[in-house]
Symmetry: C2
Subunit: 212 residues, 2 copies
Amino acid sequence: MKPIRLDPPPELSMPIGEAMFSQRAIRRLKPDPIEKAHLKILLDAASKAPNGGNYQPGRYLFLRERSSVETFGALYHEAWWAKRRDEGHAWTRREEIPDDSVFRMPALLADEMRNAPLIVLAFGLHAGMAHSVFPGMQNLMLAARALGIGSTLTTLHPQVIDRVYALFDVPEQAEFHGCIPLGYPRGRFGPTSRRPTNTTTYAERWNQPPPW
Amino acid sequence: MKPIRLDPPPELSMPIGEAMFSQRAIRRLKPDPIEKAHLKILLDAASKAPNGGNYQPGRYLFLRERSSVETFGALYHEAWWAKRRDEGHAWTRREEIPDDSVFRMPALLADEMRNAPLIVLAFGLHAGMAHSVFPGMQNLMLAARALGIGSTLTTLHPQVIDRVYALFDVPEQAEFHGCIPLGYPRGRFGPTSRRPTNTTTYAERWNQPPPW
């Protein structure tokens, strides 16, 4: 349990700009397994992110066994559709979602989660630790990008949380923050589209544009 | 407001592993200003992080004017000491904190926030958007590391939040997630110490160690 210092793994040699600017959500995954050495690199990268007071409250539970992934995948599918129901959508099957809907690809993920070669669930040891867990999740996903592994960050509907906790013996006081399916992409990494940052950034006071 | 695609800035050429594994909290900052081109790179990097449904609810308010930074710094100082009071610490001045306390350096930041050349406050447009804001904050801090700019992620005590919102015209529905002072380091970047990841990672179920 003694804290350790680690050298950066040589596998993480991609320029940081390239990783960040081509990190798109990858939801269509090949079944090929992630090798153990790469799995450790992902978790080591997560551990290096900032966290309050270096208390390191982030805990990561990974699933690779087919039975775990399939059981979790079924719960994720139920959770995904429960969210759509709460939002008032009338769809009940993926085929009913319009082609131009932003929900098309996420719906595909709801079907495919059960085939992911790797799923990482992220928790805080206690409630209120988002600021000390999400930076690690982003490190994990960026490291995955540098290794050619695709990922996307997703959440769960409260309807299934108790069952997820029971299934994996997660203690009650731990707070679930998100789940990340990972695998080699069936599609490609590539540029993402975002609002120009002069519409999301304010200078000195809210709504005052920055100098660009 | 049309979404745009950006090429990675050539300034972000540092290998991602080097940036992640040497990203330590930098709290002692030189007064030298951050140039505008670098400021934009930081915000562009933040914008590229994953967010739910690409709704991009993250909003960043930066402070560079001396009057804004000093006023915010005074509120941050008050907030920092209010947290210590809530935790039951009897200290009321930095000099009273024991040398080996993890609060020594953060207390220094509480004093120095008012001198930071740049402070970025991060918000979600609505409540419940932590998963779509913190990954961007980590991108911003990693991009800063690659540019040789130090940062640390910190929060505020509820005692001062209303005044911060009023001071910068932040709308009530926006949720504050954290503030990041930035500047060139007076100290050095360097390795961080963390628990070995076989103590923070579980395989298939809680408390079951990973294969490393």
